[in-house]
């Protein structure tokens, strides 16, 4: 029971890390290597609002998420759209976007380093035990998990039940065909990219409640997000959510039952098994 709850809470954290990248890569076809930096920027924003205005990290989402949305939309319009227009095929866009977002990640690290300095940052918020089935868990992790659940539910509902969500899914499946049925592919992509960035930054704000971070830690989050997105299948939002929880449960089970030293190994074992036996990911469709 303890393992299941611990695993689900960790899975919630992983979902917050990976959902944004999934939208950006799955729909906008941008392999965003600055994902982790955007997350850390969200963490810094939450810290700044908490330290400066005593604003709860949960309430700070009201400010962080819209700003991240606009910021990411601008990044897409000015830095990435030219690449999309120039590229002749998916492969070229991937290479170009990897290079470009890798550069953007450096800019983010540099700017955050200049503003906040290079030390470790953390703060204490809701770090109190909360009993679940008579077992204590940190309340801030539970709040982050709820945030992940709400974000996942909203995204899932929006993508599957609304017309604008349908457009995004169409672009995700086949951008050229979507264009033929009068979907503005660039607009839908910009929307997906901005939304992905907003989810990531919001996740960063929630995660900042219980991690110790610094200006250059983003790459760790990017790596985790990449593994989860590929595990889940790049075209399916459900995939990355399920993959996040599978990974969280697997790591917690290994840490509790075998040895905490093997959590990383178990994550990569899972990754290799998926790549070997289901290269399209847990929920990905076979490419025809």
């Amino acid at each position: 029971m303890e393992i299941i709850i611990g695993g689900i809470l960790l899975g919630g954290t992983y979902a917050l890390i990976a959902m944004g990248l999934q939208l950006q890569y799955g729909v906008a076809r941008i392999m965003n290597l600055a994902n982790g930096e955007i997350l850390v920027a969200g963490s810094f924003a939450a810290l700044w609002l908490f330290a400066g205005a005593q604003l709860s990290p949960v309430l700070s989402l009201i400010i962080v998420v819209p700003i991240a949305f606009v910021g990411n939309w601008l990044i897409y319009q000015y830095f990435l759209l030219p690449l999309v227009k120039r590229s002749k095929n998916q492969g070229q866009l991937e290479v170009d976007s990897i290079l470009s977002t890798f550069g953007i990640s450096f800019i983010f690290v540099g700017v955050m380093h200049a503003i906040f300095g290079g030390e470790y940052f953390n703060y204490e918020y809701l770090e109190i035990p909360f009993q679940v089935f008579e077992e204590p868990f940190a309340l801030n992790r539970i709040v982050a998990f709820l945030g992940a659940a709400i974000a996942a539910a909203c995204l899932y509902f929006w993508l599957n039940q609304t017309r604008s969500g349908l457009k995004l899914r169409a672009v995700s499946v086949n951008p050229d065909a979507a264009n033929l049925v009068a979907i503005n592919v660039n607009r839908a992509s910009a929307m997906a990219f901005a939304l992905g960035g907003a989810v990531t930054a919001g996740g960063g704000a929630l995660i900042s409640m219980f991690v110790t971070f610094d200006a250059s830690i983003g790459v760790l989050f990017t790596m985790k997000a990449l593994i989860i997105v590929i595990l889940g299948g790049v075209k399916e939002i459900r995939g990355s959510i399920v993959a996040a929880f599978v990974l969280g449960l697997a790591e917690t089970a290994v840490a509790s039952l075998i040895d905490p030293g093997l959590t990383l190994a178990s994550a990569f074992l899972l990754f290799i098994l998926i790549l070997l036996f289901r290269p399209q990911g847990l929920f990905g469709r076979q490419t025809s």
């Binding site: 290079g118 953390n122 204490e124 770090e127 905490p260 030293g261």
Partner: protein, 401 residues
């Protein structure tokens, strides 16, 4: 690999751009080079311990007119590079500082691995290397091979032994039982310390009831603490790095792991630790410690805050500053920029520093603090080699609810 290449290219570009904007250098300055992490896993530690002291020292020397040499007083011109927590980059930085920037002296890099990695290049280029943030059992071998390297924080063996000694004393006094839970970060530092500690704990009559490692950068350490708690220990020891020091302590509090002796290694001495845990930091043991109540250190802490805007840590900060003072006093005593003469001077003389007198014996300073404890608002040294003023150990109270 692909990633690496871009990283280095980008960094090289930045460095080149930074250099291009440097004003023409006047001949009446002393050029000092510094290379330490500003990004990467060790950046947080360096930003607490290393960089503020580099700035403070340059500020202190320049505000009193510079270093007094035989041909007049000269101000310091500082050239700093980011090693991105990559040993290869650190070596390149040292080489570049010596051959391209032609600096007169180089401040030693940050971290054990980086000290060892750059030792050959420091030696080849003939620059004294006054290492501080380096703890290793290889000190005798290194000082034998390189006649220009100096150490100040002791060896892995004394580092672990003094923790065991403290727990043994608490055990002998009847304050704790013999069950120890020990965890370590799965990284060269943590593994080396855990391996060194295991036999010493057993010899001291302890039973290690939980002994696990966790990977560097783990996001969730609650299984580790839950496991440790299930083993019902009397003492908890973690050979940990900064982010996990915070995470383990937070989880111990959440899971109500109450032991009378709670030790976490690096970063326990950071002001941020007290900032986060406040009253709950009381009684927590950690690596380092100093005697912050000496007049020299009181004054140092005050100046550190005024000049850099940050609080100094209670371990290597003051020692780092002391190493710069040693370099400064040696240069002034020699009166020229003759690196060989300065190195020889450092070997033979005693220096007055903020941490008290320092004298190298076979290039190793044998007076240092090993374990500290939060008592009130300060982190006091409770175990030292050759430094006076160790405080009595207190039992860790239960977590505040």
């Amino acid at each position: 690999m692909f990633r690496r290449t871009i990283l280095s290219t980008a960094a090289a570009g930045l460095v080149a751009a930074a250099l291009a904007f440097q004003p023409a250098q006047a001949a009446d300055t002393i050029k000092i080079g510094a290379s330490a992490p500003k990004t990467g896993p060790l950046a947080g530690g360096a930003a607490t311990t290393q960089w503020p002291n580099v700035r403070l020292w340059v500020h202190d020397v320049n505000s009193r007119g510079g270093l007094k040499l035989k041909d007049g007083q000269k101000k310091i011109e500082l050239i700093e590079y980011d090693d991105r927590t990559t040993p290869g980059e650190a070596i390149k930085n040292i080489q570049r500082l010596a051959t391209q920037d032609k600096v007169d002296f180089i401040l030693a890099p940050f971290g054990t691995g980086f000290t060892i990695a750059t030792a050959p290049i420091f030696n080849k280029l003939g620059y004294p290397q006054l290492a501080v943030s380096a703890i290793t059992d290889k000190i005798p071998a290194l000082t034998k091979r390189y006649d220009n390297i100096f150490f100040m924080l002791g060896s892995t063996t004394t580092f672990t032994n003094s923790v065991v000694d403290i727990l043994k004393k608490m055990k002998d006094d009847g304050k704790i039982g013999k069950r120890v839970a020990m965890v370590n970060v799965a990284d060269a530092f943590g593994i080396e310390l855990a391996n060194a500690a295991r036999p010493v704990f057993k010899k001291a009559g302890f039973e290690i009831v939980y002994d696990k490692s966790y990977p560097l950068g783990s996001q969730d350490l609650s299984p580790v603490i839950k496991g440790a708690k299930a083993s019902n220990p009397d003492a908890f020891v973690a050979w940990s790095y900064p982010p996990d020091t915070f995470a383990l302590t937070a989880q111990a509090k959440i899971n109500d792991l109450n032991v009378k002796a709670f030790y976490t290694a690096v970063a326990t001495a950071y002001p941020a630790f007290k900032g986060k845990f406040k009253a709950d930091a009381e009684g927590i043991l950690g690596a380092g410690g100093i005697d912050p109540d000496t007049p020299a250190l009181k004054e140092y802490f005050k100046r550190h805050k005024e000049v850099t805007g940050k609080d100094a840590d209670y371990w290597a900060s003051a020692v780092t500053y002391a190493s710069f003072q040693i370099l400064e006093q040696a240069i002034e005593a020699v009166g020229t920029l003759d690196r060989k003469a300065v190195t020889e001077y450092i070997k033979k003389n005693e220096f007055k520093t903020v941490i008290g007198p320092v004298k190298y014996d076979n290039q190793n300073s044998a007076r240092y603090w090993t374990v500290g404890q939060w008592q009130g608002n300060k982190f006091y040294g409770v175990s030292s080699r050759g430094r006076p003023g160790a405080k009595a150990i207190i039992e860790k109270p239960a977590w505040n609810k």
